[in-house]
């Protein structure tokens, strides 16, 4: 009896509805309802987790209801609880709860406070519904709803032009990827007649689906992941999405929604495993994204955007892991990343709250004013860098290790270089923000530590950011939770580990030397290599390229279609046809003038003068004549 698990998703939905309609009359505009609901979801998720751990819940378990039937096909909604979904439920409800607590203070001055909580709750519902889905269709429903929530939250401060533009960009870019997902759904249904994960897995196991079909389906589904998880070349929306309020960035654009793309690959892994060529593509897309995004973070001065690039980069690691058959490592990194990236974003929010700017060049020395924020941000940084014994260390090591032992040496090299860059830009960000001397005195003087409702989530998130990796690795939980049958077991390679850790440390050292001590020197470097610097600052001009190649061309095509419609179809074709008919009416006038006067009486002629009725009769007669002619010949 696991039907009650559906409450995990439904409670946030209920709170979203209540907040939306009745929030204005409730104390705190109903924010407590949202927190309470997601707290209940968390409790239920913990309960599931405990029952799984003590063995009273044997996975996988599922349960489903009919959503609708069309002909002989039944489309269902359901829950599938297995190791991966139990962990994801726990993760999503935890981060959502902490973010909602955090937002109490962070968003307290915001207009539309009520709507913010309604959207957060709706988002939580969508994500939890996706995580527990037992079929692709329900997965897609959650996926699209998350996209809509993401749109509303990015353009939350819609009075600003940039926020609206960023919302559109995010929605449309991810929807471009979703076209692939959509086509993938159609193809899956074509080959197996169902969307049910378990039934499809059986079809795959029994070899009903050819490897060519698997290849196509895998790539189509992967398009969805590339959009949602902001992989190259559809990564462009995520930096812009930082227009949304910081808690949104933490929850949606770092910890949960963007990771859903990786989760999709995990859910569809059967197709990928059956199609090694698809895996190759996945691995390379991930690897390229990881290093590509990391380079852009180096020159970024907006603290949130640095974190956004690092998110893209880390998602690249996860995708790469999936591609090199390191399924456990990918999901493990997804979990640890959720903890440390949510932490980093929320801590960055605390910094922004205090300094009233996103621009790190205007900060400096903030550690003197914001002790808790500094410490927690430091924890997150260490974990992201992969400093030994932190959570990020274990998961990233596992990915690089798998790449190495799997023989993907180039990808391993890319991964290590990315680790170096990551360590460098995070050290830079930490140095610019918290160390050195204050660059703007007034701002520094007015910066104060945030209230407890903001710092408490930071402290709580620091625990998993530091310790989760160690706990999960040492107790063997990684393999217990993130196993995929038939994959090669991970082999420890000390050489790979050493190289990876070494490149990270090198990044820290280099970053530590330059920031914040050598700022003038860095400035001179930027001038010296200004073309390169500008290239990175402008994000490799990809936005401009897409604008020129795709967006402008699409709009051109629309205008061509519209011109064609107005001038060719309507003017030439339709009106031209009308003109011809008009010319024919010369005949009609002749009939009027010469025949009717002689044949019909005046009274009848006047009644027929009504031109409408006349035309009507004319066409009807013509039609009848045509018909008779056709019958005769």
């Amino acid at each position: 009896m696991i039907e009650y698990a559906v409450l995990i998703a439904l409670l946030p939905l209920l709170s979203a509805i209540l907040i939306f309609f009745f929030g204005r009359w409730l104390p705190m505009k109903g924010a407590w309802l949202g927190i309470l609901a997601v707290a209940a979801s968390l409790v239920l998720s913990i309960d599931l987790f405990m029952r799984f751990m003590d063995g009273s819940l044997v996975t996988p378990v599922w349960s489903s209801w009919t959503w609708f039937t069309a002909g002989i096909y039944r489309f269902e909604v359901g829950i599938l609880l297995d190791e991966a979904s139990i962990v994801m439920l726990l993760m999503v409800s935890t981060v959502s709860l902490l973010v909602q607590i955090y937002s109490l203070s962070y968003m307290s001055d915001a207009p539309h406070f009520k709507r913010f909580y309604a959207y957060l709750s709706l988002f939580t519902f969508s994500m939890l519904g996706l995580v527990m889905a037992n079929n692709y269709l329900q997965f897609f429903v959650g996926w699209e709803l998350m996209g809509a929530c993401s749109y509303f939250l990015i353009s939350f401060e819609f009075e600003r032009e940039a926020a609206g533009a960023a919302g559109n960009k995010a929605f449309l870019t991810t929807r471009l990827g979703d076209l692939g997902f959509y086509a993938g759904l159609l193809t899956i249904f074509y080959v197996s007649g169902t969307f049910n994960f378990i039934q499809i897995q059986e079809h795959l196991r029994d070899g009903y689906i050819s490897s060519h079909m698997c290849y196509i389906i895998a790539l189509l589904m992967f398009c969805g992941s590339v959009g949602k998880s902001a992989q190259f070349p559809l990564h462009v929306w995520l930096p812009d999405a930082m227009e949304g309020p910081t808690p949104v960035s933490a929850l949606i654009h770092a910890a949960t929604m963007v990771a859903a793309g990786v989760f999709l690959v995990a859910r569809a892994y059967g197709f990928f495993v059956a199609a090694p060529d698809a895996l190759q593509i996945v691995a390379w897309v991930g690897g390229i994204t990881a290093v590509f995004a990391a380079t852009m973070a180096i020159t970024e001065n907006d603290i949130k955007k640095v974190l956004a690039y690092s998110t893209i980069s880390q998602l690249g690691y996860m995708i790469m892991a999936m591609g090199v058959l390191a399924y456990p490592a990918g999901l493990f990194h997804l979990t640890t990343h959720a903890a440390f990236k949510a932490l980093l974003f929320l801590a960055a929010g605390s910094v922004i709250h205090a300094a009233h700017t996103n621009d790190m060049t205007k900060m400096g020395s903030l550690s003197k004013q914001l002790l808790l924020t500094t410490i927690t941000f430091f924890c997150g940084t260490l974990s992201l860098i992969g400093f030994p014994l932190t959570s990020g260390y274990y998961s990233k090591e596992m990915i690089l290790n798998s790449a190495f032992t799997g023989g993907h040496f180039v990808l391993f090299g890319i991964g290590c270089f990315t680790a170096f860059l990551t360590a460098f830009y995070m050290t830079r960000a930490f140095g610019l923000t918290f160390l050195g001397t204050p660059r703007e005195r007034d701002r520094f003087a007015h910066a104060h530590e945030s209230p407890w409702s903001m710092t408490l989530p930071l402290l709580l998130l620091s625990i998993p950011a530091l310790g989760l990796g160690l706990v999960m690795t040492s107790s063997g939980l990684v393999d217990k939770f993130f196993g995929w049958p038939g994959l090669p077991a991970t082999v420890e390679s000390h050489k790979a580990g050493a190289i990876a850790v070494g490149s990270g440390l090198a990044g820290i050292v280099l970053g530590g030397i330059l920031y914040p001590g050598q700022l003038p020197f860095v400035g001179r470097l930027a001038v010296r290599f200004s073309p390169l610097y500008r290239l990175l600052q402008r994000k490799y001009y990809i936005d401009e390229l897409y604008g020129f190649l795709f967006i402008r061309r699409t709009v051109d095509l629309a205008h061509v279609a519209n011109w064609f419609d107005a001038y060719v179809i309507d003017r030439v074709f339709v009106d031209g046809f009308g003109k011809i008919v008009d010319q024919l009416s010369v005949v009609k006038r002749w009939v009027n003038d010469h025949v009717r006067e002689n044949v019909f009486s005046d009274a009848l002629a006047r009644r027929l003068q009504n031109s409408l009725a006349q035309n009507y009769l004319l066409v009807m007669t013509l039609g009848f004549v045509m018909f008779v002619l056709w019958r005769v010949f």
Binding site: T66, W67, F68, T69, A70, G71, I72, Y73, F140, V141, E144, L145, A148, Y151, S155, F158, E159, R160, E161, G164, A165, G167, N168, F171, L172, R175, L176, D178, L179, Y182, A183, L186, T187, F189, Y190, T554, V555, L557, A558, H559, A561, N562, D565, I569, D570, F573, V574, G578, L612, N615, Y616, V619, M620, L622, G623, F624, M626, F627, W630, R631
Partner: protein, 490 residues
Amino acid sequence: MGVLSALTFLPLVGGLVILCVPGEKKFLIRVLAAIVSGLTFAATVWLWAHMNTAVADFQFVDRWSWIPAFHIHFFLAVDGLSLPLVMLTTLLTLLAVMSSFAIELRVKEYFFFFLFLETAMLGVFLALDLFLFYIFWELTLIPMFFLIGIWGGPKKEYASLKFFLFTLFGSVFMLVGILALYFSSAPHTFDFTELLAQNSLWTRQLQLWIFLGLYLGFAVKIPIFPFHTWLPLAHVEAPTAVSVILAGVLLKMGLYGLMRFSFALLPIATRELAFALAVVATVNILYGAFCSLAQTDIKRMIAYSSINHMGYALLGMASMSVLGFSGAILQMVNHGIITGLLFLLVGVLYDRAHTRDLHAFGGIGAQVPVYTGFMTFACFASMGLPLLSGFVGEFLCFLGAFQVPHYRLLTGLSLIAILITAAFFLVMIKKVFLGPLNPKWERLTDMDGRELLTAVPLVILTIAFGIWPAALLQPVTATLTHMVDLLKIP
């Protein structure tokens, strides 16, 4: 006289009563019109409650000899295919009547024509004698012609005439097709059920020609490229309530006719031409979407998006499967609800701002939050967001079409339109509602009670059918399964 005759002619009788009321008693006329359309809606709800949806049979059959000399019957009946469309008609008419309370010009005639139109539309969906069907089909033209021509916008005469002539052009061919059916049957008959019993005797050649004739009539109405240019024009000039009916109901008459008569009576021709239909559907889908993207008038934009949405339904129908048929029916009903809502909302804005130009607004989201919420909701529904009613219909159309191997490329191409649809709606939302407030609209007022009253039912239905599409699918499945069987090679 049976239930269905009463249902069909109730609005017309109401309209005639309204004609007897002195023209200056505007309030009485409005209330009367609302009561009559409300009663008609209530009657269809009763019909729905009393229908046996488990079988594909025609029910509440109302049939008597009308013109014995030509073996013409007055024949009305309802089944799973017509029921949802009948309900859609009466619901949208009720809401459109309510939203027309602000009309001040020639109130009496307006509501008479509106109720007259309702009778004609109901007749189209219920008539099973092709002669009767044709009469009702043509009867919809007359009130529509006057509703656009008298109460329309600046170019109303041109628009109404174009609408009239265009549809008439199609109807002529349809009439030829109907007459051909009549003369091909022995004994000669217009009765759908009798024709159905003997269609196996008709040659392929004959079926193809008749299909073509009927197709031209239906294609103009749906509208299918390249017979669509009357639609954007008519929408732009038509008053709000007429746009609601035009997009919500009239376009479905074409799809209904195609499915009911062409498909069922001419299976050989349908099978042969299905691929061509799928191609045409794809053109509609893409062409409509791209044209929408180029529009600056919000109403024109939605009009083109209707062309796109009708394309989805046609694609589903062309798949000749229960999945695709179900999708088409859902798409027809839900397009009626969602696009009806969109046109209502555009009317709300136009009543205040007297413009529908995308570039004339900017940032009014802060000024009219309730309106913004409704409009955003309708746009997301129209772009097929899951759990709103547009999604499942669209999805089933694609799913049905994709099961046919040689439609796969077409279906894949059509998917592009999903992105384009999202693009033009989001661009519209951004230009009109987001960004800093254009000071010109500082005095813009939000929706009032009556406007909310007309919009809320459609919102509720959009959510209800989105979450629970089975409510729509269950009553139609038996009929649709039967119709698919009719298309199978015997």
